[in-house]
Amino acid sequence: MAFRDLFRAEATRHAALSAGQVVPDPARCVQCGICSYNCPIGIDVRRHAWRGQPIHNSRCLTCGECVARCPRGVLRFDRTDLFAEAVK
C-alpha cells in the first residue's frame, strides 16, 4: 500500500464532513431547546435556528444528533459551498 493511501480514509471523511452542514428552517422552530440539549459538544443550535443561520461552527461534528432529535423537523443537512466566494 502506498504511503499516501494510509491517509485516504481520513481525507474522505473530512471531505464528507466539510461538504455538509446543518441548516435550520426558523419558521418551524419553537425554541424548545432539544437540539442544543442533545448536541454532544454543546453548540447552541437553537440560537442558530432563531437567527435562521446554518450551524457554521468549526466544532460541529455533523453527527446529526440535533437533526434526529428535533421533534418538528426544523433541521436538515445541506451541502456547504465553503469556497463559492473564493471561486468567484
Binding site: D25, A27, R28, V30, Q31, C32, G33, I34, S36, Y37, R46, R47, W50, R69, P71, R72, G73, R76
Partner: protein, 435 residues
C-alpha cells in the same frame, strides 16, 4: 427619545423588542410581564412534560441577550391602559408612560366550569407554572382523566403516560379533532393512543368533578357513569386575554382587532400574538392564530410599525408541526371545517384558517402511519396534512404558501389511487427550480 412599553413576555413581545432595537438603539423599552418565569418556549412545555427537555432548556435567551436589547423589565400585571394620558397602570407598581404600546399578553385556557373544577388535582397547561404542577402531581398520581381536544389535550395525555400514569381520555364526539383531521387521521391517532395504553372513551362528557378533602377522586359523566382518578387534566380551548383592551375601549371581537400593521383603533396601541385578531387583506377576514411562528412574525412587524416603519404583516398559510400520539404531523393551510365538540373556539397550536375549507377536492394516500392528504383547489393546493414520513412537508409548505400553479398536475393528483407523493415530488423539482 421614544418610550415603548411592551405588555407580555412571550415570543410576540420579544420579537417586537428585537425589531424596535434593530431600528432604534436609543429608545427606552419597558417589558411588563406577569409570567413569573419570563420568556420561555411555551410549545416546549410538551417536551418538558415528556422529559425530553429539562426546565433549563426552555429558556432561549441568556441574561446577555436581554442586556444587549437594553430592556427595563417590570414583573407585574397591567391593570389598566389610560389612553388619554398615554399611561399603563401596573398592579402595585404605579404607572408607566408610553409613546407606543404593544399588547402581547397572549391567551389563557378556557376554564372548566363544572362543579368541583376548583379541586386540587384539576390541571390545565397554560404556563410553566402549570407544567411544573402537573409534573409534581403526576409523580404520585396513578390514574388520570384527560378531557378536551386539539394538540394540548394530547400533550397532556403523552406527558402523563411518560410518568406512567394510567390515562383515560374522554372525547365528547365520535373522534379526535374532527374539524381539522379527517376520519382516517383521527382513527390513526386514536389507534396509536390505544397502543400506548390510553383508554379512549367517546361520547363522554364530564358533569362533575368528585373529590374528598379538597382533592380530586374522580369524575361523573353525563350518562351517570363515574370514573376514578386522582388527576383531571383539561384542554378545552383558549381565549385571548382581551380584558385590558376592553376596559381601555379598544375594538375587540374574539381577540383585539388590529389592521395589517398590527395597529388597534388607537394609533399608538398595537397588538400581536395570541391576543390579536389580525386583519388579512387577502381574505378580507380577521383571524385568530395560536401559533409560535405567526406570533413571532406579528411581533416583529408590530415593533417596526411602532417605530414608524410601514411594515404590513402578510399572513402566510398557517402551519404547525406537531406530534399526535408520537406521530409527527404537519398541518398546512386549510384542511377541515365545522366545529369540534371537544373545543371551545380555538386551541393552542391552532389556527382558525385550518377550518375554512372551501369546496375543494381531497386527494389522499397512505397506509398505517405514513399518510398524505392534499386539499386540491382549482389552480393551487389549499392545504395538506402530512403524517409520519415528513419528506414532503417542507415542499408542500412552500408550494401552498407560494400559491404554486398546479394546473399541469391537477388531473394526476385527482386520479383514483394516484401516487400522490411521486406526483408532488416531481412537481416540486420543477417548481422549485423555476422560482
Amino acid at each position: 427619545m421614544s418610550r415603548f412599553v411592551v405588555l407580555g413576555s412571550g415570543v410576540a413581545g420579544i420579537a417586537a423588542i428585537e425589531a424596535i432595537r434593530s431600528v432604534d438603539t436609543a429608545a427606552e423599552i419597558v417589558l411588563v410581564g406577569d409570567d413569573p418565569f419570563g420568556y420561555y418556549s411555551r410549545p416546549g412545555l410538551a417536551y418538558y412534560l415528556t422529559g425530553e427537555a429539562g426546565e433549563k432548556q426552555l429558556y432561549p435567551f441568556t441574561t446577555g441577550d436581554f442586556q444587549r436589547l437594553k430592556i427595563r423589565y417590570v414583573k407585574g400585571r397591567a391593570a389598566m391602559v389610560l389612553r388619554d394620558e398615554h399611561q399603563v397602570e401596573i398592579d402595585d407598581k404605579g404607572r408607566l408612560s408610553y409613546d407606543r404600546l404593544l399588547i402581547a399578553v397572549g391567551a389563557s385556557a378556557v376554564p372548566l366550569t363544572v362543579p368541583g373544577a376548583n379541586l386540587e388535582g384539576v390541571v390545565k397547561l397554560d404556563h410553566l407554572t402549570d407544567a411544573r404542577r402537573i409534573e409534581q402531581l403526576a409523580r404520585r398520581a396513578r390514574r388520570a382523566v384527560v378531557v378536551g381536544g386539539g394538540i394540548t389535550a394530547l400533550e397532556l395525555v403523552e406527558g402523563l403516560i411518560s410518568h406512567r400514569v394510567e390515562v383515560q381520555y374522554l372525547l365528547r364526539g365520535d373522534r379526535y379533532w374532527s374539524n381539522v383531521l379527517d376520519a382516517s387521521e383521527s382513527q390513526i391517532v386514536e389507534h396509536r393512543l390505544r397502543e400506548e395504553g390510553v383508554e379512549l372513551i367517546h361520547h363522554a362528557e364530564v358533569v362533575e368533578v368528585l373529590g374528598k378533602r379538597g382533592r380530586v377522586t374522580g369524575v361523573r359523566l353525563l350518562d351517570g357513569r363515574t370514573l376514578q382518578c386522582d388527576l383531571l387534566a383539561y384542554a378545552i380551548g383558549i381565549q385571548p386575554r382581551t380584558e385590558l383592551a376592553k376596559k381601555a375601549g379598544l375594538a375587540v371581537d374574539r381577540g383585539i382587532l388590529v389592521n395589517e400593521y398590527l395597529q388597534t383603533n388607537d394609533p399608538d396601541i398595537f397588538a400581536a400574538g395570541d391576543v390579536a385578531q389580525v386583519y388579512d387583506p387577502l381574505s378580507g377576514r380577521s383571524i385568530l392564530d395560536s401559533l409560535w411562528g405567526p406570533a413571532r412574525e406579528q411581533g416583529w412587524a408590530a415593533g417596526l410599525n411602532m417605530c414608524g416603519r410601514k411594515q404590513a404583516y402578510v399572513k402566510g398559510a398557517p402551519f404547525n408541526v406537531t406530534r399526535l400520539a408520537g406521530l409527527t404531523t404537519t398541518i398546512i393551510g386549510t384542511v377541515g371545517r365545522g366545529r369540534d365538540d371537544d373545543l371551545v373556539g380555538i386551541a393552542r397550536g391552532d389556527s382558525e384558517t385550518w377550518r375554512q375549507l372551501p369546496n375543494a377536492i381531497v386527494a389522499q394516500t397512505g397506509f398505517e402511519v405514513n399518510r398524505l392528504r392534499l386539499i386540491v383547489g382549482e389552480k393551487s393546493l389549499l392545504g395538506a396534512v402530512v403524517m409520519g414520513d415528513q419528506t414532503l412537508s417542507v415542499p408542500l409548505q412552500k408550494m401552498i404558501a407560494g400559491g404554486a400553479d398546479i394546473s399541469a398536475v391537477r388531473e394526476k393528483l385527482l386520479a383514483p389511487n394516484a401516487p400522490l407523493a411521486d406526483v408532488v415530488v416531481d412537481f416540486w423539482k420543477e417548481w422549485s427550480r423555476s422560482t
